[in-house]
Symmetry: C2
Subunit: 537 residues, 2 copies
């Protein structure tokens, strides 16, 4: 049945979520025997995908169900241990694609914590009340402020390089130098020293923001949490409930209310159809529901369907209804919920951007690639638009259009800080604002909004060939190519993590020095030392 | 004996260099049977490391021996073929480290062509007079202007993804979108279409700058070359000769006049000693000679000594002499030769930055880490400075110092556009200008210029442990870690090529889909189709 991303605080195995006025407590207390797959024990608050699915659920619920929360304290429920990072035995036993996909999801959740701090007035505070290693420190790095207990033993550390022969790949290397501005020679020492750095030195090196002795630690955390809460102007309003998602999963696809996916296993493709709103606009209506469904679908497809390498993106519905709905939200961004929904859709679009699948948008009569949904087309690697009537109804007067609205000019930046339109036309001097409006196929071609616009005679063959030739390519080469093309122009901590750090980690993960039978990842904890091919590459 | 990087136009096998007033012609005419190692034929103007060593030599001689040259026309001496890119059989038969090192060197030469255009008034013009595929198009991409013959058959193409299952890894993907601003969906089509794009479409897509029919091509090239030459203010002065390098190569090291390297094969280290000037300052004196020697050493070590994974950087000499020498050059940057030498040293420092070896600088009494040589220390991953007398002479009054001069505040930017000091203190608000001056060990520690400053009692053990613990780490993890730490902050086309594109390519190179027995790279030309694991990672 594959991995489910459903979770609820009432049934968390690994986290406790407690809301106390403007401050929420997110307490990591991993159940050792509750790994998401069998074969390892989650000792020392180490985590696997199951632990991170709960964390992701908590970060989402805090934003939607607890709008009054202004500070989120991330801490540990165990004695002397904050978090030991990703579970090594899980990593060592996992397939390459599992490891990479797991790292991507954990990266996205950590980015979402920073996004909550930046855009939702929910500031994350790491209350590091014990040893904090590897992915544990990377979790702390995603918080806005790190408070470390000064007990002569609790250290922050990145032992991946020295103990496992891999990188701190969940943003660790990048955030240390690019976010926290640790001097790079000290970062080098830190990342090669398995016992890490503690106490005053950790502050001096900028690895943590402050320290407090054990006797004063809890009070220091509460004081800092209250201080951070004063930065926010978040209203103390009731939240909305994120009800369980309804979905129908079969061997051939997944269907939700507004989103569906049809698998072609022989062809190696998925056709994803996003349907526009059928109800009148309401703040908590279609966009939130569709976004949740699309988010769930992307996560499920990435994790459970690695063989389906090409995603075909379609929409169905009424462009005017899409625009009316998004207008309501974009006109009320001072409303916390409108803002949350827009921010959430932004994050789901970013998930698409870093998804290692080829994305092809098909824009046909009856589609509604307008505003928020036009972003789906712009997120794709290619856009094909039918220039003529529907293929199965040559007498119809229905024609495909694309409509660009305010939604395409700012609210949904990519990880590189540019809109998808800015990325598309990167370095071209044209005034993008003139692209506001509705385009038929010929106009869209002329303005560079689509890759090609075949007529109804050519459409079936051209689309078939485009898809078949894509699925015939090396999946690895596609992943590398797309990762290079999608993020043109400026780089940020976020794009560096997905583009540079993750690429090096992927390389290291498949090298015998890490994952071979004598490699460091496989030999960790065995009592035997790793054997390395010493050639530098 | 390993690879030699010595070359001279009189003995080129693959290129012809002709200088005609302000215009130089660099004509690729590869000798099929003259591969640098046996086992393949260099058909269709395809290249291997040997071809690129000659190209590198030509780019250097153009700058130093032919200062009057203002336009360099890169073209082919073969009929209907410009260049088919890196030789596939060579790639398929090469070890992983050979492939990666070869790509790095070719990347550096292409960056140097852009550097000549930007900083030496020698603009590169690609006169693409035949089919131009893969690395051939990447060579053209490194030129400032691409003129393609419009003969109904000559296309530019990047067939790596579709035919070989690897990336166009010599800057191709990056330069197409980030330098030439090709729309990213068109870049996607282009990079997956083995037959490429020709004629007017190539101009429309921004893949080339102009086209000309065969009958008008030669004239168009000459016209464009003359037009590009007018941009330059390069003086028509006689150049200097780059005489053959003197070196003494043994099993234990390499010695030049100003640079030497001692190998510790058991320990896996090289100690590199750069000696300061012993003669009075002269423009074409010590810095040029030392730079050439260091360049040659770096290239030889990278190619021939992959097992020596840690480089220990030392200097010997008189800091005042270093400063007097660099002062002469920095005060005469309007002199073409002074400028060339400074630019050349800049490029050699950049080679160090992208070298996949751990770099540790040892700053001891008698060293001369001043100005230009202080950059060597700043390029290192760590800096250790002895706080006390020489270990073998406790009564000596000699002490180690570091001196920062104008040379450390601008003339030698890294690939990310920052100086090494700016990279070191990235995101820290201190005024760097206050670091101008001379620092003893305590001062250097206090100002963050060194990683540690042990006294003469602790020095031997601390250095030994630092080196031994470094060489014990996974070489792959070190490479990935250093690639992430060294380039903090902003990214450029150059850092994207070395950091993002090269990392993905390295990953793809070791995946079975490319390099396995049924992989695309191995099966190319065999008549058998590649077999792919279709899982997307």
């Amino acid at each position: 049945m594959g991995v489910s991303f459903d979770a609820h605080p009432d049934s968390y195995r690994h986290w406790r979520l407690r809301v106390d006025g403007p401050i929420a407590w997110l307490v990591l207390d991993v159940a050792e025997d509750a790994g998401i797959v069998p074969g390892y024990e989650l000792k020392l608050n180490s985590y696997d995908l199951g632990v991170d699915i709960e964390l992701y659920d908590a970060t989402q619920r805090l934003r939607f169900e607890h709008p009054g929360v202004r500070t989120v304290v991330v801490t540990s429920g165990k004695d002397k241990v904050f978090c030991a990072g990703a579970n090594i035995r899980m990593l060592a036993a996992s397939s390459h694609e599992w490891k990479v996909n797991f790292c991507k999801f954990t990266n996205e959740t950590r980015n979402a914590m920073e996004d909550a701090t930046a855009h939702s007035g929910q500031t994350y505070l790491a209350a590091v009340n014990g040893s904090c290693a590897g992915g544990g420190y990377e979790l702390a790095l995603a918080c806005d402020h790190i408070l470390l207990v000064d007990d002569n033993s609790s250290a922050v550390s990145l032992p991946e390089v020295s103990l496992l022969g891999v990188l701190p790949g969940t943003g660790g290397l990048t955030r240390v130098v690019d976010k926290r501005h640790v001097r790079k020679d000290l970062a080098d020492v830190f990342a090669t020293r398995s016992d890490g750095v503690k106490g005053r030195t950790a502050v001096t090196w900028r690895l943590v923001d402050e320290i407090a002795p054990p006797s004063a630690f809890d009070q220091a955390v509460r004081d800092r949490a209250r201080e951070l809460a004063t930065r926010s102007t978040r209203p103390d309003e009731p939240g909305i409930q994120l009800a369980p998602l309804r979905r129908d999963v079969t061997d051939d696809g997944i269907r939700y209310d507004h989103v569906s996916a049809e698998f072609d296993r022989a062809g190696g493709t998925v056709t994803i159809i996003v349907r526009g709103p059928s109800e009148p606009p309401s703040v908590d209506g279609w966009l939130l529901a569709m976004t949740r469904q699309l988010d769930d679908l992307v996560l499920r497809l990435r994790t459970n369907e690695p063989d389906l390498g090409t995603w075909i993106l379609k929409t169905e519905g009424d462009s005017d209804a899409v625009i009316a709905h998004e207008r309501l939200l974009l006109d009320s961004l001072d409303n916390w919920l409108s803002n949350e929904i827009i921010q959430y859709y932004k994050r789901v679009l970013k998930r698409l951007d870093v998804t290692s699948r080829s994305l092809i948008a098909l824009i046909e009569p009856g589609s509604c690639f307008a505003g928020v949904l036009a972003e789906l087309a712009l997120a794709a690697d290619r856009q094909y638009m039918l220039d003529g009537p529907p293929v199965d109804d040559p007498d119809s007067e229905l024609r495909a259009v694309i409509t660009l609205t305010d939604a395409n000019f700012g609210p949904f930046p990519m990880g590189n800080g540019l809109t998808r339109l800015e990325s598309r036309f990167y370095g071209q001097s044209d005034d993008l604002k003139q692209l506001h409006g509705t385009f038929d196929a010929a106009d869209a071609m002329a303005h560079g909004l689509v890759t090609d616009a075949p007529d109804d005679i050519d459409w079936p063959d051209e689309i078939r060939i485009a898809i078949e030739s894509r699925t015939a390519l090396s999946p690895d080469a596609c992943t590398g190519m797309e990762a290079n093309h999608r993020f043109v122009g400026p780089e940020t901590v976020e794009t560096k993590i997905f583009g540079r750090l993750a690429a090096w980690q992927n390389w290291i993960f498949v090298r015998p020095n890490a994952s071979g039978p004598d490699g460091a990842l496989r030999r960790y904890g065995s009592g035997q030392k790793a054997v390395f091919d010493r050639k530098r590459v």
